[in-house]
Every structure is written in C-alpha cells, then in structure tokens.
C-alpha cells in the first residue's frame, strides 16, 4: 500500500534529518541575522520547520540548505525561513491597559510639545505580527483620545515576517482574535465577511503604514526617526542581552525627545539599559527618552 510522505517532504524525496550540531549552527546563524535567540532545547519546533524548508527547496542536506539561505540573491528563502520561525499568535486589545495609558497619559504629554494643526504624532508598533496591535492602537485613539482631531497621527507597523504583514494588510480575523472587542467596536470598525471572519474596515486599514523592519539591523533602524511612541511588546524576550541593549539604543535614536517605549508586561527596560527614564503612570510603567 502506498504511503504519503510526512508533511513537508516532497513525494520521492528522502527526509533530511537535522542533527544537534546542525541546530547549533542554525541557531547561531539565525541569531546573527535576526537577533532572535532560538533556544536549542526547542528541537522539535526548529527541526520541523527546518525540515519543511529543506524539503520545499529539494536540498539534500542541512549544509546545502544553509548555503542556499546565505547566498541566494534576493534573499527570498531567508525571508521564508523567518516567516516559519517567528510566532504570530495575538489578539485585539491584548494588554490593553497600555492603550489606556497611551490615550490617558502619553499622548497628552506628547501633545504639549507639538503644535496642533501643524505637527504630527507618530506611533510605531514593532513587531506588529498580523496587525491586531496597530489596529487596536488606532481604534483606541479614535475612541478615547479627545484631541485626536487636533493632529495628524501616523501609525507605523512593522515585522520581519512578510507573511504576517500580508495578513495584517488584509485585516481579516477569526472570532477568537476579536474576543476582547465589544459589539459596538466590532460594528464600527469591522465588517463580517462570513460566519467566523471579520475584516477591519478599509478606512482603518488604510490608516496604518505596514513595512518590513528588523529592529536589530542598524542600517534599517537608521531610517526610523521621529517616533513619539513605540509599542514593542514580547519581542525582547527572544533576544540575548547584547541584542536587547542594541535594540534599546536603536529605539532611543528612533524616538523624539520625550517619546515613550511600551514593553510587554514581563519585560523590563531597566534591566536592559539605563538610557530611558522609567515613567510610572496609574495604568502602566513605560520608558521615556529624556526631553533633554
């Protein structure tokens, strides 16, 4: 009786086995490219995804695949690999106390140093994954910040996973991603497209500027300037100490003086770098680039 090949293995192809040494080499390579410190103890997760990519490219060994990733013009396989290895599970209004802090505290402070009708306020969501966070930010501002109409507000959103960015731009979500969205907000900012899927309305989708940015890449980060608030939640936990410190420095440069960084609840800037001021608001602890 014919049997099907395991997932990710082309018919007739021999599955490539990943050794412990391969995993070590891969983790080192992936870290240098992305700043993400893959834990070699997550062998099953890493092996499965590497085997899938090796099979998809019909490589005969891990070494052959690594050479392809390193030297392929255009880097499309490197991007495919990043897409496989990154985690994109999130939902709307996750850790929403920080959005409350944004609209109750941070934006008012930022507005003090801006001229209404002339200046822009720039908010950056990094990594934005499939878009739930930047859209939540946009909705929070429209719903809860009384001065939203006084300024042009730009919401930038970035990720290193292009597949996630594609989903973010489409703005289509299943019900489980909307479980914290009230019916009124759902009716206002989403349209139901079938039994289990909702799409963010076009006006809101068009208000977020999505792009590929690797926060560990100095050349890419040199292009990011003039930001007032950065949401970078649950990313730095995947980085090692050096990458965390480098990313903190990049954020400092990207921010305007007085700008804020909001990290995930388990992350602490004070353990990473001393260049930000901790700001304890009633809703959340955030980190501020000093005004002077």
């Amino acid at each position: 009786m014919a049997t099907s090949p395991p997932p990710g293995v082309l018919p007739g192809a021999k599955a490539v086995r990943i050794s412990a040494e391969d995993v070590t080499v891969f983790c080192d390579f992936f870290y240098k490219k992305t700043g993400i410190s893959m834990d070699a103890s997550r062998r099953y997760f890493i092996d499965r995804r590497l085997e899938d990519r090796i099979a998809a490219n019909e490589c005969r060994s891990f070494r052959e695949y690594l050479a392809l990733v390193k030297f392929q013009p255009g880097g499309s396989e490197m991007q495919a690999l990043i897409n496989e290895m990154t985690v994109n599970e999130t939902y709307f209004f996750r850790e929403d106390y920080q959005f409350t802090c944004l609209t109750k505290r941070m934006l008012d402070e930022i507005a003090v140093h801006k001229i209404a009708g002339r200046d822009r306020i720039r908010i950056w969501s990094a990594p934005c994954s499939t878009g739930e966070e930047p859209y939540s930010i946009a909705i929070s501002i429209l719903e809860n910040w009384s001065r939203a109409s006084d300024f042009d507000i730009e919401i930038m959103a970035s990720d290193i996973d292009t597949r996630a960015l594609g989903r973010a731009r489409n703005g289509i979500y299943q019900a489980r991603a909307l479980h914290r969205v009230s019916q009124r907000i759902r009716d206002t900012y989403f349209r139901q497209i079938d039994a289990d899927n909702w799409q963010v309305v076009k006006d809101l989708r068009d208000s977020v500027d999505f792009g590929v940015i690797n926060v560990c890449d100095p050349a890419q980060m040199a292009r990011v300037r003039g930001i007032d608030v950065i949401f970078c939640r649950n990313l730095l936990i995947y980085f090692d100490d050096l990458s965390r410190r480098q990313t903190a420095e990049h954020f400092f440069d990207a921010l305007n003086p007085g700008g804020f960084v909001a990290l995930g609840h388990s992350e602490s800037m004070s353990r990473i770098s001393g260049i930000f001021l901790p700001r304890k608001f009633p809703e959340a602890l955030v980190h501020q680039r000093p005004l002077t």
Binding site: R120, W124, L204, A222, Q246, I275
Partner: protein
C-alpha cells in the same frame, strides 16, 4: 487631522528618514557625541578611539553607546582595550568595563592571567569579579590559582565569594588557605566559612 497614512501623506515617512551626517566625538551635545560613537562602527581605529573617549567622557548616555559598540565588536583587541579601563579611578567606568568584558567571554577569559598580576589590587578585584561572571571552567581554575598566593585582604574577600560560587570541591582547599593566611581577620574568616558552606551545599 486624525489618523493619516505616512507614505500616502508624502511627508517623508518615519521609515524613510534621510541619512544623517556623523557629528564629531567632541561635539558639546551628548546626544550628538553618542551618534558620533555609533558612527565609529566599521572604523579601523574604532577601539582606540572609543577607549580614548571613555577616559574623558562623563555622560552615561555616551558611555553606554561606546561600551555597547565595544561589546558588539567581540574581538581580542576590543577586550584588551576595555581591560585597560579597569584601572580607571572612575568606579562607573570600571563597572562599565567589567560588564563589557563579561559580554565577550571568549576574549576576556585569556586576559585574566595578566590582570591577576596587576600591581593595583583594585584591578585584581575586578579580574576576580570578571572570572565569576564568566562562569567558565578555565576561569574557575584561575580563581583557585590566584587564591593560592594572593596577599591582599580585599582581593581575597572577593575571591572567597567567587570561589564559593564555582561549586567546585577543589576550591575548598584554596578557601582554607585564605582563611589560614588571614587567621586574625574576622571578616575574612566569615567570608571563607560562608563560601565553604556554599560549596558543601552545592
């Protein structure tokens, strides 16, 4: 007013900021000096310039950028350059140097031998602290070797704490030797006994 898309607005989106010219290292503004430090990445004389700067720079913002760049170089030359700062009179600078060396263990470890022979006891203390940070078998061996002949009480108190953290039973003899050498020093006696206790519990 309200939400606008940066690129559609054609106003020079934040992702497309124009390249900035690097300012001078002696710029009066600390933020600009920090940018000058960052611009040294790739400079052939980067280590020398950074170490020279660190000797005179007082702003933490600039120092941290310099130390971070040195740590990211992760080279023998960078480790040697940073190790010189362990003898500086500025405690914050010495701590920054220690943290930076600990971030490049492959290049910092080989420096322990020479640091342990430094005439300045403070440098030897930082060498002990560095060895404890490295958590490497060779660094633990070096701690045991230094404990065999170190005569400065402050260095030995740091040695006792570091040896206690190695979890190695052969460190017990070195600790006992310190206790014997400073038999009249109650603090060192306490430090040695605490470290021996940690070894027994390891």
């Amino acid at each position: 007013m309200g939400l606008v898309k940066a690129r559609a607005a054609g106003n020079g989106a934040a992702f497309d900021a124009a390249p900035e010219d690097a300012p001078r290292l002696d710029h009066p503004d600390a933020v600009q000096r920090r940018r000058a430090v960052q611009a040294l990445a790739g400079d052939a004389d980067c280590v020398d310039k950074l170490v020279t700067l660190l000797r005179v720079e007082k702003e933490s913002l600039v120092r941290q950028a310099a130390f971070l760049l040195l740590a990211s170089l992760n080279s023998r030359e960078a480790a040697r350059g940073v190790s010189v700062l362990l003898s500086d009179a500025d405690a914050a600078l010495r701590n920054g140097a220690l943290e930076t060396l600990a971030a490049m263990p492959d290049h910092a470890g080989p420096l322990l031998a020479s640091l342990g022979q430094d005439e300045d006891a403070d440098v030897r203390i930082f060498a002990v602290l560095l060895a404890a940070e490295l958590q490497d078998p060779a660094a633990a061996d070096w701690l045991v070797a230094l404990a065999a002949h170190e005569t400065d009480a402050n260095v030995c108190s740091n040695l006792a704490e570091a040896l206690g953290g190695t979890g190695r039973i052969e460190a017990a003899a070195a600790l006992t030797a310190i206790g014997t050498r400073f038999a009249g020093d109650p603090f060192l006696g306490f430090a040695v006994e605490t470290a021996l206790q940690r070894l027994r519990e390891a």
